[in-house]
Symmetry: C2
């Protein structure tokens, strides 16, 4: 028995998120089905990040155990023809039998994309959130500065979460603009439920002048979801990559 | 009666092209319906470029005549809520009653986008053509040099066209690469049926080594569709803009 790891990119538009649910299309469900078809085994993958409905990924990670003799790096080539075109396995390798994609020290990188233009762009409606009012980039960057570092992010967490420890570390939080496209890129050691979308919504609140950058410390301090900005829609969000720290030097 | 001009952006994926056909969704059909709903008149637009099924636009142009008193520049705002989200009117103005979008001297700019990577990108499957083999950019640029200028482009024209004069002028033909995305950008005084897709297919043939750049003059000379490269798929093609030369200084 070998444990195979996949790096998976997907357009989340058509899916009710990563995690299998009855009767609806999910990324995990499509992967289980394609791998089972390929190996003739009954495969259930273990995913690293259970992305929400409509959220995209360039590099989510999943593992599964198989008796198949297909070389580890060939799974990507063998699986893509069996997957819908909005899900692509971009790499595959073999890991230790006890390697678990969620029980490792990781750094995750997410991007939230905002199209800041008078009219929406029909080609960007699936991967950006359209904002037609002006956003003050300098103020957004100033606010981002207060959010970096280790904080209790309880104010930036969906109230329906069950997690107890809401302290997380943000290593980088950048706000870039190229023509009409604003990209918020965040790298951290873990993210709470809806945290990136609430961070982005709060930065948009700052950009439009509804929240002052200097209010951020008080928003963190409040430990109250009501204190932070709105949860912006899923289509702007992409899980860019997951770095496993024990492998980073490889 | 006023003649209103619209600049229209669209994701062509879901449409059977610009031109109205019975029983299938078309860009023109959606525009006719939305404008008729808005003005309570029976509107049929006149389009500048009848793009093919699956082809996109950032700036196609259409006009219509109306008794409506809506200010010309407000049509964009009034129409977008009545249009599907993959069609966006990005500008509207008033033109002379006899102004016709196809009976003017124009320069058109098209882009053909190629994703040159080992695996396809699920977020770019609607607006790029995926090519997994290596492409030699220098050779493609060398070939582009032979295509620039005024030539008889009969070899680069779908054989089912009925046009008699196949001489066209290409002002610019650039091949750019940014990470894995190759963009072929062409500006000319007019394009024959499928011409940009056959130009792109021929440049891809050059890039992969099937056609030598020095063969281009002979391919033009042949005036035979069989001499040029393949017609590449529509989803890579975008009509970027149409410049009306009598207005260019405005």
């Amino acid at each position: 028995m070998r444990r195979i790891r996949l790096r998976v990119a997907y357009d989340g538009t058509a899916y009710c998120g990563w995690q299998v649910q009855p009767e609806v299309p999910t990324i995990e469900g499509e992967l289980n089905q394609a791998i089972s078809r390929l190996t003739k085994e009954e495969i259930i993958v273990i995913g690293a990040s259970r992305t929400d409905a409509g959220v995209h990924a360039k590099g989510n990670v999943a593992v599964f155990d198989t008796e198949s003799t297909i070389p580890a790096d060939r799974f990507a080539y063998a699986l893509n023809p069996l997957l819908p075109e909005d899900i692509v396995v971009v790499a595959s390798d073999e890991v230790a039998a006890d390697w678990h994609p969620r029980h490792c020290d990781t750094e995750k990188t997410y991007e939230y994309k905002i199209l800041n233009s008078k009219f929406p762009d029909p080609m960007r409606r699936r991967d950006t959130y359209h904002v037609s009012f002006d956003l003050d980039l300098e103020k957004m960057r100033e606010a981002a500065g207060y959010l970096k570092g280790e904080h209790d992010f309880k104010s930036f967490c969906n109230v329906h979460t069950q997690v107890e420890d809401t302290v997380r570390m943000i290593y980088d939080l950048e706000v870039e603009k190229e023509e009409e496209l604003i990209t918020i890129r965040v790298r951290g050691n873990g993210f709470l439920y809806n945290m990136v979308r609430i961070l982005a919504g709060t930065l948009i609140g700052v950009g439009r002048g509804a929240i002052a950058p200097e209010q951020i410390p008080a928003i963190l301090e409040a430990k109250d979801r009501q204190a932070a900005g709105m949860t912006v829609p899923p289509q702007g969000l992409t899980l860019v990559k997951i770095d496993y720290l024990d492998e980073k030097s490889k």
